[in-house]
Symmetry: C2
């Protein structure tokens, strides 16, 4: 009754939505029962859209024979991803049930390291020979269409499976039926290699507006393709990683919701402890100026807002640079120009903030202290901003990920310099009373 109503409802729904529904209401045995009612193709598609955590649980509760059947119907890149989630015993049992060509394909795709082009590519692409005609190619695409991830790009290979060219279905249907493929194929190819970082596939697909991009080995043999939809997933993953990194959080596998307490702890603790020790420099700066502070205890009131301002302006500058470098908007050769621009911008920011604090602070402290506070504000904002611009470029030049120049790191450095600037200036302008 109730279950049948769901099955009827599912018939009208896209696979992604069915998977979303199962994810939201996940119970192992109910999900297995629901999946069991679907056609093998729908089952395979829905399974591919489930959250990794739920894929893993369902796969381990499935009869191995059924799992092998599911694997046969799944796209090659998705089943390789699921395979990687299974424990070794289940992997072995599964492998024994697969046909040789599925087994070889799965082994090959799972052998690429995570984060590489090889780990996101699929082997469900359409190939055609260079010597055939347009008519022949179209017939072939028609026949193989159901198994292929895309037939909108057909890959032209020679007898050794080396990539010779690419023909789009658009070109095929507008060409005359008797034309030869080698005469209409595109040979100036943009290709990837499987060991490139996966972000590269997304960058190139986005730059050239491609539906798919071929992946070739060093000897020019076609080994897979990356499609635009996988590239979009890569962009989401990479941007998530960058945003987490910018707050000193390490890479979290498989989504925040499924992350265990232990994993979250491990991904967060290292930088936090490191920053505790880095902040000792600020403390040491304060301790060094203890005499000044004891003499002018009113200075402390302005300490938090001054050091925070340097960190905030620095985090702004660093974030602009990190993202600019990541999108290719800013390159290494721009660093001098960006530094000059930041000098002007931060001068404006620092002056505005100095005036703002001088107006409000004069209600609380005398003109000599306000002079110290205003001058410090200007200097601290300038220095913080310049650190924010330079650190990402420096990391980029050292071939580190500029995203490591995260807000917390810039803030910590800006804090320590802020303490020195503020109390240094106070000591020299106000003097030490007991000397």
């Amino acid at each position: 009754g109730d279950e049948q109503a769901l099955i009827d409802l599912f018939e009208e729904m896209p696979a992604a939505d069915i998977a979303g529904f199962i994810d939201e209401n996940f119970e192992i045995y109910e999900s297995l029962a629901l999946m069991d009612k679907m056609s093998p193709e729908v089952q395979a598609e829905v399974f591919g859209y489930l959250r990794p955590n739920n894929q893993q649980v369902l796969a381990s509760h499935m009869e191995v024979g059924l799992l092998a059947k599911l694997f046969r119907d799944m796209s090659s890149d998705e089943r390789a991803d699921v395979y990687a989630l299974l424990d070794v015993k289940l992997q072995d049992a599964l492998m024994r049930r697969l046909a040789k060509h599925d087994r070889d394909d799965l082994l090959r795709l799972s052998s690429y390291e995570e984060g590489t082009v090889g780990s996101v590519m699929t082997s469900d692409y359409a190939v055609i020979p260079a010597s055939g005609t347009v008519e022949h190619a179209l017939r072939r695409l028609r026949q193989t269409a159901p198994e292929k991830e895309t037939i909108y790009q057909a890959y032209v290979i020679d007898n050794d499976y080396r990539l010779q060219g690419v023909v789009s279905l658009r070109d095929l249907i507008t060409a005359a039926p008797h034309e030869r493929i080698e005469d209409i194929m595109v040979t100036d190819l943009i290709t990837l290699t499987p060991d490139m970082p996966q972000a590269e596939s997304a960058r190139i697909i986005s730059r050239y507006d491609l539906i798919a991009i071929p992946v070739v080995s060093e000897t020019g043999v076609l080994v897979g393709i990356v499609t635009f939809d996988d590239a979009m997933d890569v962009v989401e993953m990479e941007d998530t990683e960058t945003m987490h990194k910018s707050a000193t959080v390490g890479k979290i596998e498989g989504g925040l919701k499924d992350a265990s307490v232990g994993m979250l702890y491990r991904k967060r603790i290292n930088w936090l402890v490191l920053l505790v020790f880095a902040n000792i420099f600020s403390g040491a700066g304060i301790a060094y100026f203890e005499d000044t502070i004891s003499a002018y205890i009113a200075l402390l009131f302005f300490l938090p807002l001054l050091i925070a301002s340097g960190g905030n302006a620095g985090a702004q500058a660093a974030t602009l640079m990190v993202r600019g470098i990541a999108t290719g908007d800013v390159t290494r050769s721009d660093w001098f120009r960006m530094l000059g621009k930041e000098l002007l911008v931060s001068l404006g920011l620092g002056l505005t903030m100095a005036v703002a604090i001088a107006l409000v602070g004069s209600l609380r402290a005398g003109p000599d202290i306000m002079l110290v506070v205003a001058l410090s504000m200007l200097a601290i904002v300038l220095v913080g901003s310049l650190i924010g611009v330079m650190l990402p470029f420096l990391l980029h030049r050292l071939n580190w990920d500029p995203a490591t120049a995260s807000a917390p790191l810039v803030t910590t450095i800006a804090d320590a310099t802020g303490v020195l600037i503020y109390f240094g200036m106070a000591t020299s302008i106000l003097g030490l009373p007991n000397i």
Copy 2:
């Protein structure tokens, strides 16, 4: 000589690379001369890939008749973007040179507000009637292919241009030639409306792995499509905006490199000044405990690392939540579970950091002060983390963008509570000597 060599080189290059070359070596008159040597189609394609700033400069230096010719060959969404960059006088002069259907199309597409689906959609899509056959549809697609952004999805409309269904080219070439379109078209459609936020188009294209998605008016009339490549650009723009927002930087139009000093100043100053005043709370907290601080000046050494730790842990938690909400990984109903998990994680983080600082700090201060510091660390990290989890959910519930719960805001709130916790605990454990 030199120029001809470049033109020859360009013939082998994708349009995106030619545009990249011109952008890198931009000089108005040289760029105009180079463009002049290309075929009209290549010219239009290259122009579409140039940086907005350079498009604007070139367009204003072009003879209006030539610009109108260029516009005729450009895709409808790209020319609407360029049109929006021109000054009103040039817009008028250009309009007068365009054919009526181009003029209407341009006016319509430019009328949608920036950031909406309407502003990124294109009108270069292929339509077919429901009553025709597969053979008829294929013939039509073949003829109109050169002008369309994609022919891999064909849109089935009635006489009033209302969207009836969609047929993919994949389905067309695998169907029998005499089959009727209405029998093979998909009618359970996922559609957008032009006033939706543009991010929605990217979210849906990515979720359902679509090549393009139709945009319909309230009355069901087809008004445009959004293609996957435009959706990828939307993702990049949106993620850039979110990252900037997370460092309290406002929306920057047209890339960092082209942003003027004045614009950068305006996009950064508001939050910086706001945060200066917010940090007065921390200063007030310090001032309130002046007696405690004067009595135990050694406490100041640990102040920066304690308040920074609360901010850093809070920024981690906030960033995880903000991104989780943005990707749909975490929903409103998860907030209680996330809070519980964060309580456990931050307990672990706080304990580790308390032990770390107790070990190192005992070289510098006595056991009573170290007890205060260690207990404060635990409490500050707990409170900072919980603020980091709750603020994004709160903003989300208020229908504000959770990204506003930026690291600087969380840090500022955590700083103020950190000051109160630390000196409050010190006063109650160490006591005030002169009372």
